[in-house]
């Protein structure tokens, strides 16, 4: 516990933590212009239920039509859809509406957009050809040989999963429209990447500080000759892990807390993450399992924790060997970027191209696509295999480093 205090009492650690938290809050608040519009989905779920069925859609259509006739009467205009109305509206006409009326029109327009997307789900899902996408990927990356074979095989599996997904109707659930708001990318890519990079910086600094502390304070001769002796490194290890865990939990808590206060997710927690509305780029998100948004969030947080702890272990091992926090910090940062680039040095015809992608950097930075099919790290087993492989590697390295340390010259 005294080891933990070395970190907690260092002002730079707390300072950086506060700075990062404030920055994250700023990041979230500054991109929350559309938070009111998002609430319409909550309203839809309340009124029509989570699942989109033909009857509930018909109901929604009726309600939209009803509101539209009202609008037509009050505005004295003739139009087919709100979209059309807005498109032809000039700025002066716009100003003629009262604030309340204007809000109503906006709301109706958003509802219409959701309705149109929902209506065309079947149509747009029928157009998705997973096999062809796979072949496109092979061409795009210029793969050949066993690499191409492997990727096509993965896409074949994904195709089966896709059929199952459509059969279960996982895609027919309300969620924030991806193409309009990019909420999945914002939360799991932008916000999560910030959390990850910030907590990794803090974790590596803290671990390096604790581990190399005695050598940098020139107290090693005294400390390691006490009764506890070099076993102290075990305590240092536990302290590093504890600090890493707390750092991540607090940073996740503060950032995600702000996020969900700003954006109202209360109604969409149990919507499937593979919902057709969660379709941002030219391919919807297709998860390998039927997981909800809430579960996905927990899983993502789990990956962050696992990744952070593993990086902490690796830092501990390196710092034990080099006995210098500066080199340990620089070395781990270098390692993190180097393994990120590793796959691009591999032959594009060999399976190594994929195997080298099973690393912590790719796992952590690609977190918005975890548990999803498609892409180079879209294998069904990618997440747990990466974490368990690196747990083994980190445990091995830590063990060797500790054994070596018990015999090394500390003078």
């Amino acid at each position: 516990m005294y080891e933990c205090r070395k970190v907690i009492q260092s002002p730079i650690f707390l300072g950086l933590f506060l700075l990062f938290s404030v920055y994250n809050i700023y990041l979230i608040v500054s991109s929350s212009d559309h938070k009111e519009e998002l609430k319409i989905v909550n309203e839809l779920i309340d009124t029509y239920g989570r699942d989109i069925s033909d009857t509930s859609l018909a109901q929604l259509d009726q309600d939209i039509q009803k509101e539209m006739t009202q609008l037509k009467r009050s505005a004295g205009l003739e139009f087919q859809s709100v979209h059309e109305l807005l498109e032809n509206m000039s700025l002066e006409e716009q100003e003629a509406y009262s604030q309340e009326q204007w809000n109503q029109i906006q709301q109706l327009a958003v509802k219409e957009m959701y309705f149109n997307t929902a209506r065309s789900i079947d149509e747009s899902y029928a157009e998705i050809d997973i096999q062809a996408t796979g072949e496109g990927e092979v061409r795009m990356y210029g793969l050949s040989g066993s690499a191409a074979f492997y990727l096509l095989q993965e896409y074949e599996k994904l195709d089966k999963r896709f059929e199952e997904l459509v059969k279960n109707g996982e895609q027919k659930q309300w969620f924030f429209a991806g193409k309009a708001y990019f909420m999945h990318s914002f939360l799991f890519q932008t916000v999560f990447r910030h959390i990850i990079i910030e907590s990794l910086l803090l974790i590596v600094l803290a671990t390096a500080l604790i581990t190399a502390y005695e050598f940098e304070q020139k107290t090693q001769l005294l400390i390691f000759s006490t009764k506890r002796g070099r076993k102290l490194m075990k305590d240092k290890f536990s302290a590093s892990i504890a600090i890493a865990l707390f750092t991540m939990i607090f940073l996740l808590g503060i950032t995600l807390g702000t996020f969900f206060i700003v954006f109202d997710y209360s109604h969409v927690w149990s919507t499937s993450i593979s919902s057709a509305f969660n379709w941002e780029y030219n391919f919807p998100y297709i998860a390998w399992w039927d997981i909800s948004v809430g579960t996905f969030l927990w899983l993502a947080a789990g990956i962050v924790l696992a990744g952070g702890l593993l990086i902490s272990c690796l830092t501990f091992a390196l710092a034990t060997v080099v006995k210098n926090s500066y080199i340990a910090f620089a070395g781990i940062s270098l390692f993190f970027v180097a393994v990120l680039l590793l796959p691009s040095f591999m032959s594009k015809s060999s399976i190594l191209f994929f195997i080298t992608g099973y690393n912590l950097s790719q796992l952590l930075l690609g977190i918005s696509n975890s548990f999803m099919g498609g892409g180079l790290t879209g294998s069904r087993n990618y997440e747990w295999l990466t974490v368990s492989c690196w747990t083994l590697i980190a445990a091995g390295i830590c063990f060797v480093a500790y054994r070596r340390f018990t015999k090394t010259d500390i003078g």
Binding site: L16, L209, Y326, F329, L341
Partner: protein
């Protein structure tokens, strides 16, 4: 002099140099290699690049109305060639495409025509059609040369009109300058990391090793601190020079020298407060990298002189580097003379950063003379 050299040897150790090599290798592949290996990046970038060289050879670095007319005439004659190509291939006539105009305008409503279009553009990649597309883009751009392309404020509008009156409107394809801007920012980032990693630890290291007790009681005494600072600046300068030389020798592969004489305002979408040639612009960016590098060297040395340990040393510099990566390089390097920021902002920022970092060092130098080193 000998002391400076000895201090430099302490900074530029083999271990440190190997480490820098690794850092640069990783950052090169992460950031820089793309702008060199993939230049020009696909089409129509390649055609823009070729066409730009052709234009400079034929019309020089400024295009007047007569030359523009000639450019249009060439477009027409190339179009004739394209028409001949289309007529020589019966499948186009069958799809109802008789000439080039129809190929580009009427293609999107019909799948058969779309396929034919993508066949000549993407599968066969016929140069002629790509070149035509680029030429027509340039002509369109010329037709709208009186429009500024973004919401300008008064100063920006004045600058724009001024250039237009001098006949310096934006006429040449922008691939080269875009590529250079991306390249130079990535080089800047790489050099910033290299310099900060190199310089940060060395003053602190002497202090934690209790070397000062020995040094400051010797005959040279406390003025040694100044020697260290000079050694730090020289080492950083040396590393910056070597790295710049290396990265620019790679940049030479891009073959952008035909563009060197072109004023930077002649490139499309590159409105700037001053009008240097492309080569002068490159030199300006090199100078900027030296200044940024040395400012951060001085900041690193200041931090290194006051912090108690390595972790604080890194921790304090993380926010500085973050700010630099998030905004600094964008304003200070990639838009160094662009009208995007007010004319006074960039020189002002350089001045401010310079004064702060030099001022800190002078303060620390004075402090060093009286400081209690036994703590």
């Amino acid at each position: 002099m000998r002391m400076i050299w000895n201090e430099m040897k302490k900074i530029l150790t083999w271990r440190m140099l190997t480490f820098l090599l690794l850092v640069n290798a990783v950052l090169y592949f992460l950031l820089i290699s793309f702008d060199i290996e993939y230049f020009p990046n696909g089409r129509p970038a390649l055609d823009g690049y070729r066409l730009g060289i052709e234009m400079i050879e034929e019309y020089g670095v400024q295009m007047d109305e007569e030359e523009m007319l000639d450019f249009r005439r060439q477009f027409e004659s190339r179009k004739e060639e394209a028409n001949e190509y289309l007529q020589a291939h019966p499948e186009f006539a069958e799809a109802g495409i008789d000439d080039y105009e129809e190929l580009v305008t009427s293609v999107w409503d019909n799948e058969e025509r779309q396929n034919l279009h993508s066949q000549i553009m993407h599968e066969q990649q016929i140069d002629l059609f790509w070149e035509l597309q680029e030429r027509s883009r340039l002509i369109d751009f010329h037709d709208t040369k009186e429009m500024i392309g973004f919401e300008p404020n008064t100063l920006q509008q004045t600058r724009f009109d001024e250039l237009l009156n001098e006949g310096k409107y934006q006429a040449y394809p922008e691939v080269v300058i875009q590529n250079f801007k991306e390249f130079i920012v990535n080089v800047g980032i790489t050099i910033l990391f290299s310099v900060v990693l190199l310089i940060s630890p060395f003053i602190l290291k002497d202090r934690t090793r209790r070397l000062l007790d020995l040094q400051y009681t010797s005959k040279i005494g406390r003025s040694l601190y100044k020697t260290k600072l000079i050694a730090g600046i020289l080492s950083a300068g040396l590393v910056i020079t070597v790295l710049l030389a290396f990265y620019f020798s790679l940049y030479a592969q891009n073959g952008t020298s035909p563009y060197f004489g072109l004023g930077v305002n002649a490139f499309i979408a590159n409105l700037t407060w001053y009008d240097p040639t492309f080569l002068q612009y490159i030199w300006l960016c090199i100078l900027a990298i030296y200044v940024i590098g040395l400012i951060f060297t001085m900041l690193a040395m200041s931090v290194s002189s006051v912090v108690p340990n390595f972790v604080t040393l890194i921790g304090i510099q993380i926010p500085l580097i973050f700010v630099m990566l998030l905004m600094g390089f964008n304003i200070l390097l990639s838009h160094i003379i662009s009208v995007q920021s007010p004319q006074w902002l960039v020189p002002g920022l350089y001045g401010l950063l310079g004064i702060v970092s030099v001022g800190l060092l002078i303060y620390l130098m004075r402090r060093e003379n009286f400081r209690d080193i036994s703590e």
